[in-house]
Symmetry: C2
Subunit: 272 residues, 2 copies
Amino acid sequence: MNVAIAGLGLIGGSLALALKERHHVTGFDTDPNARESARAAGIDVVETLEALLPADAVIVATPIHAVVPTLEALALRAGKAVLLDVASVRAPVEAFAATAPAGCRIVGLHPMAGRSGAGFGAASAELLMHRPFLVVPTARSDTAAMALAGTLARDAGGEVTVCSAAQHDRIVAVLSAVPLTFAAALALTGAETVDGNLASLSGPGFGDSTRLALTSPDLGSAMLLANAENVRAALARARTILDEVDRAIASGDAAALNAILERAAQARRALS
Amino acid sequence: MNVAIAGLGLIGGSLALALKERHHVTGFDTDPNARESARAAGIDVVETLEALLPADAVIVATPIHAVVPTLEALALRAGKAVLLDVASVRAPVEAFAATAPAGCRIVGLHPMAGRSGAGFGAASAELLMHRPFLVVPTARSDTAAMALAGTLARDAGGEVTVCSAAQHDRIVAVLSAVPLTFAAALALTGAETVDGNLASLSGPGFGDSTRLALTSPDLGSAMLLANAENVRAALARARTILDEVDRAIASGDAAALNAILERAAQARRALS
């Protein structure tokens, strides 16, 4: 099919590279350098957002604050194109979709993937391979649009999970946003304590634990603020567990500590 | 030189494999299976702790609770052998060394390395390559013993940092113990929230953030309890930063949030 992508950064660029194996991909980015890089990588690039249409699907992969304005700009003239967006917080898109022009179709398509780099230069098809893609219906979704989202997710190498916007935002708060806040707190505590010697003193465990602190502060703030209620609830829950750990350490309760660490190890083994 | 290693698990086994390129290594483990595996990997294995002596150096790499008893068993008959130990909490060894027989020499040699596996089967020389080795003097250290510890650390592929027991225990609380508690809290919060779907929903960020939750509960509890004061102080400091983050989210203060995340990213960039 004809797939258009608005925003050729890490995620949009990776989608373009992954999908062009099976589809005709057209891309646009407001940044001329991103357009140039994408063109050099064999993507068919256009010079305006509007020139992405007509298409069978348009994937909006801009920074999070630009997702709703971009969907808005596309909605009136989308025609038969299904509008998809990769926003990592669904509530704002859900609110927009509820009032969007009748006849337009909007579906969330959020790949749970990332790395510390940014921009088209960091993009690669491999980034998306075997990653969970959360497919999220809106008030402007229909069966065909949902099926199209699933097809694109699978064609990009991902594995599809369908969930509601509310479920999505709860999941992302726990699996992405709170881990970011923990990584930031650990990185700052570590840097304060070892005073410039972090690189020479820390092992791979600390490196893994703090990797998400490399998230761009703009993206990080947007993820935390746009999803504030879920993030604060998940943060409170995680801190309750830290309270339990702290109490067990304070009272020298090895059995309680072992029980918490054993449950945590069991939970984590599901991933490995 | 003749290097003996008591305890052929992940760390002791890795030291044996790394050091046998340049030294004659003799190993012992209380577990016959570990002895058999080490022998099959070309290590010269003996059947009793005492048979490790005489040697130029004995590295005690047992589980943490057995380190002081093993040093105690070796101290009286060590002769000219320098006793080293890999304990990840120094205070108990420091206390023992202060009352150890005059003439014996004891130095801490703690490689900041690990992985989720355990036992000789998970050991490899590569685990230690370019890792920080914290060399920690005790009341029973002298210049020659410290130099020997540095030589062995470098010969095992590590990079040496010398620090006091107090500094060591503060550093390890921040760089290993608190990250473990954070990983455990995240893994448990994630598992509760997504109810059995952690593997299908989480991306690499969550996986990295929770990898330390795979630490063996026994090792984890020992690290937390034997170093309780430092761990609780570091945990409290990290939680103060989470308070700041939570307040900034609650008040929608994007500038404050950006500033915290930018400082954290800067701290973390020192590692990558």
